[in-house]
Symmetry: C2
Subunit: 479 residues, 2 copies
């Protein structure tokens, strides 16, 4: 167990320094590496396999709702970016500009896409002529670039991977329905697959997407009490359609502007998984996206029959559709235990000569280290149940953390006091004025995370100015 101890000591404790714990994890679990490209990360095989699993699940769910994938150019001419006023103001300060092609200066500079509304709109203007061409439900998986000053792996980097859905609809109602539909796809994915509870709600005008009519969000609370925006879904109305002159002939023979949505999630999700479920021994991965769901570690593997039994168990589990790794390397079991704990593998199976004699093996859960002795004959059921229980336990634990860290404030003093002493959400009423929103940022260093759906108001007076207020807001500090 000496090795085991040594590896664990390499991670900073999360209570001691959460930020350092986080960067330790992303490095030691082999998720990322740095390069000489400042602010950009290398996503290593283990990290990328998590992203591939995220993609596979979401892509299938998108397609079930009629979404089709496309690929747009990665460059946007400056004149195209400028077509929608709010949009360019929101993004121009943080884009990377290509000014040279080979040895020639370009006549018009091109930005590397920070998001692709403008390109989709230009294309839609070409292909949408009639109501028969609607809806268009397009999505693309790609990388985008935003020239951030301070960066952190997965959470904020100059280049990141994401998907961006862009849809066009005949009516405002249909666009709003699609916006909410995709928000729910995200919420169900976070809660059902990633075991991360989320608050669904609407962003304030200050926090909404540049150019959107309304932005909806799923907000998650990390272990340290800071909030993470998990995914957003925007209703653009017909603002972009007007700016880009997109019109269709409706069945009543009138030319109309279609209504638009966009929605996206990114590799940030991986940061959210780490900070929701991780612990001082490393990553803890929800089974739905874990590259390895079960690791099998033979004990005294030189003894007769042990490796054969381990291989049989591995084959049985693989045949049942599980992602399995058998580690029969010459490292010690102790080293392997901490290695796969660091990597967040949900279940570990130990099998040694004594277990074998009883036709049993040991299953150890990553989250609580609970051990069960189970029969080899029933291994598939035991593993599936173990994975299900672990997913539920991760969700419950994260939910409890959020509940323990959700506070309520009636006055500015209360809110400031909570913000200064506790980390989490603060529920408080808001009159709707930008001025009050800015003041809370100034005096309590909190921002509005969202105006949640379906949650009871906590009063009827603005926490800041005391005037009449109908909007409940979750305030907090965010990644």
């Amino acid at each position: 167990m000496a090795d085991n101890k040594k590896m664990v000591e390499q991670i900073t404790s999360m209570d001691e320094d959460f930020a350092k714990w986080y960067t330790d994890i992303v490095k030691k679990a082999d998720l990322i590496d740095y390069s000489s490209v400042k602010g950009c990360m290398i996503i290593r095989p283990y990290g990328y396999a998590i992203w591939e699993n995220i993609q596979k699940i979401l892509d299938a769910r998108f397609k079930e709702t009629g979404v089709e994938n496309v690929y747009m150019p990665m460059f946007i001419p400056e004149s195209l970016l400028k077509k929608e006023k709010d949009h360019v103001e929101g993004f121009a300060p943080e884009v990377a500009w290509v000014t040279m092609g080979g040895s020639e200066r370009l006549t018009e500079r091109l930005c590397v896409r920070p998001t692709s509304e403008t390109l989709f709109c230009e294309h839609y203007a070409n292909i949408i002529k009639s109501y028969r061409d609607l809806p268009k439900n397009y999505n693309q998986w790609c990388s985008v670039v935003r020239w951030e000053k301070t960066t952190r792996p997965f959470l904020r980097s100059r280049e990141f991977l994401w998907q961006e859905g862009h849809t066009m609809h005949r009516t405002a109602e249909e666009a709003e329905a699609r916006t909410i539909q995709m928000l729910n796809v995200y919420a169900n994915f976070f809660e059902g697959d990633l075991a991360i509870p989320v608050i669904r709600g609407q962003k304030t005008d200050k926090e909404k997407f540049a150019g959107a009519l309304a932005t909806y969000t799923v907000e998650a609370l990390m272990h340290d009490g800071k909030a993470l925006q998990g995914g957003t879904s925007h209703n653009f109305g017909d603002g972009f359609a007007k700016a880009f002159d997109i019109q269709f002939l409706d069945s009543d023979n009138k030319l109309k502007h279609p209504h638009q949505t966009s929605w996206g999630v990114s590799t940030r999700i991986i940061g959210g998984i780490i900070m929701t479920h991780g612990d001082d021994n490393g990553l803890v991965l929800p089974p739905a996206v874990a590259p390895i769901q079960v690791v099998i570690i033979p004990i005294q593997q030189q003894k007769e029959g042990v490796l054969e039994a381990a291989n049989r168990i591995a084959d049985t589990l693989k045949a049942a559709g599980l992602r399995v790794k058998l580690d029969d390397s010459d490292q010690s079991p102790g080293w392997k235990f901490s290695e796969y704990e660091m990597k967040g593998v949900p279940l570990r199976i130990e099998i040694g000569p004594r277990d074998l004699a009883d036709n049993k093996c040991v299953i150890v859960r990553r989250d609580n280290r609970e051990k069960s002795f189970v029969s080899i004959a029933g291994i598939v059921d035991s593993v599936n149940e173990g994975l299900k229980n672990l997913t539920r336990a991760l969700y419950e634990k994260a939910l409890k953390n959020r509940e323990d860290r959700t506070f309520s404030a009636q006055t500015l003093e209360e809110l400031t006091e909570i913000a200064n002493n506790k980390n989490g959400y603060i529920k408080a009423m808001w009159c709707g004025d930008l001025e009050c929103e800015l003041k809370l940022k100034e005096v309590a260093d909190v921002t509005s995370r969202c105006m949640p759906f379906g949650i009871e108001p906590t009063g009827d007076k603005c926490v800041c100015c005391g005037r009449e207020a109908h909007k409940l807001v979750y305030w907090g500090k965010a990644y």
Copy 2:
């Protein structure tokens, strides 16, 4: 059938103007659209679905050989690009340069990756320390940029999608074996899945990748007799490893440089499919990558039972794992016939009241329009057999085209005469001198496509200078 005729008339005949036929197809089959980003293309849903099928097949085959996916930054600092001399000379003239981030001028300009050897090498230098760290078999799916002057959809564009595998090995032998292994993965994919016969061979020094020791290629011949490089696999030896100071401690306790490979295919493949199998009615897609493998078109669909039967057939075929579309729109059957012919759907099923009365339907093959009347009960077998036969027929037809267009020359006069009057490969011996290779380009406008594996020499004298020659070369004009 008036509609049918009308649509077909919109495409230029391939014999009349092959280049125009090609661009007609990519537009009319809804594969791509143009945008205001010069030289870049929008890959539309139907085109992108072909690419997704290509990715799915190849990605699984890569992973079967132990390949893992990663993601590298899209930017390369100029100093990093310059580390390997041949490499920077090959690529610097055609890269796009980012010089501004937001409103600030960068202290060092960054190129948008034209390929990622340099980034992989920098990363490998960080993570390879011991022989236990080898091999590393990494791949990434991404977009790359090359600032081309003249562009054509899929064949040559400023941005394109591809995969680039980059591997590191303990020995030269292992690297060479991996290089050939991946070449064979490509060859089997082209021949078995895309029904495109290929010549496997080695590139001459002039045509090899900038910085490689040896470049292997799979070369396909298009319908018009021009060659297309389908995929390449490079053995880098330890050249990059030395330039990037990548060393590992071997089991004999000596520091050594690992041996490297890289290999890639791109969205060019889609251009190759179009130009190999397409005809004057549009695309013809090999079933393995066709987004729709079978389209079902009801005849007199208002008649009782027709739509129900069509739906039952669709469900049965989908349950058998086939990609099926039932078009029950109010367009005429004739319109639908030409629409799905344009889109290259391999099989069409027609079902009308009379067929239904006999419990039969009609299957029409896209390639030769052959009709079969088959029983609805046995539809899955009939469709699978139809798809298999079509794949084989596409391959045979392409192979015959290549054989009919493969010529042989003993002298420079013969070669020039063939090059001036015929389109295809010219087999001719070569002494190995760059001068002769350049002369053939000058006098006959042909380039060396490859030195094929396992094909008998056609003589022992260089076709150009008459000196002793051991190398058989396939010469031709290439896309």
